[in-house]
């Protein structure tokens, strides 16, 4: 499954990103950045409520497929700019991380 399919099937709002052809391999939930960076795998969907600039750094270094901000967590302006510079896909949903992860598990 690619990110485009994820967006369509789970009706996610796109906050940043143009190319949605990245492949999804799995999913990781977490808000502590060191924890996420060390454990999230390349190609994971990352579910988090952290929408700051440091989340973008972690997404780039960990090579996640996309960030999904759950519970409509906000993306701040610095983070959006950094995400654009680094081609990081950022999506948003009103669902919480548990609900989102459960929905994703039905797809992958």
């Amino acid at each position: 499954m690619d990110v485009k399919e994820l967006i369509e099937k789970l009706d996610l709002k796109v906050l940043c990103g143009e190319d949605f052809s990245k492949n999804i391999n799995g999913c990781y939930c977490g808000d502590l950045l060191s924890w996420v960076m060390s454990r999230a795998q390349e190609g994971d969907i990352w579910l988090t409520v952290m929408g700051n600039i440091n989340s973008i750094g972690v997404a780039v270094l960990a090579d996640v497929a996309c960030i999904v901000l759950t519970e409509n967590a906000a993306l701040d302006a610095d983070a959006l700019n950094r995400a654009k510079q680094n081609d990081v896909i950022i999506l948003q949903t009103e669902k919480n991380s548990y609900q989102m992860a459960a929905a994703i598990s039905q797809l992958i």
């Binding site: 060191s34 700051n52 973008i56 750094g57 780039v60 270094l61």
Partner: protein, 140 residues
């Protein structure tokens, strides 16, 4: 490939730039053709050390030496030093202040992650003088 040396400055308390040095190093290693999993290991280790410099040490300098066999990264700061390295190496132990924790840092995973992702890590620290961390990751 000949030996490549790269230098980065890390600013103190500047979380908007935190991760830039490790991000740049990651791109350089990718461009040099290193294997993706090796690049990821270097990037994670250097990111953690870079963030430590921003949080604890008023910034510092990063010098990397890249050869086909080994990537060596030396991160030097003039911060307060680490009083108890053994304690700091324990997963979950953190001295990060509350404002930093609210940004998602302070998991107490920094030094443990660095050790986990590198082949060699040495910490040279002195109270009131600073800390130098040397990392080696071999291309096997």
């Amino acid at each position: 490939m000949e030996e490549v040396k790269l230098h980065y400055d890390v600013n103190a308390y500047d979380f908007t730039c935190a991760g830039e040095a490790s991000g740049k190093l990651k791109r350089s290693l990718k461009d040099l053709g290193f294997d993706a999993s090796l690049v990821r290991r270097v990037a994670i280790a250097v990111y953690e050390a870079e963030i430590n410099m921003v949080i604890h040490a008023e910034g510092g300098v990063i010098d990397s030496t890249i050869t086909p066999e080994c990537i060596t990264v030396v991160l030097a700061d003039k911060g307060p030093g680490i009083p108890d390295v053994e304690l700091a190496m324990q997963e979950g132990y953190s001295t990060a202040p509350e404002n930093v924790r609210s940004l998602g840092f302070g998991a107490g995973m920094g030094l443990p992650n660095i050790k986990k992702y590198t082949d060699e890590m040495t910490i040279d620290t002195e109270i009131g003088v600073g800390t130098t961390i040397t990392l080696k990751i071999y291309n096997r």
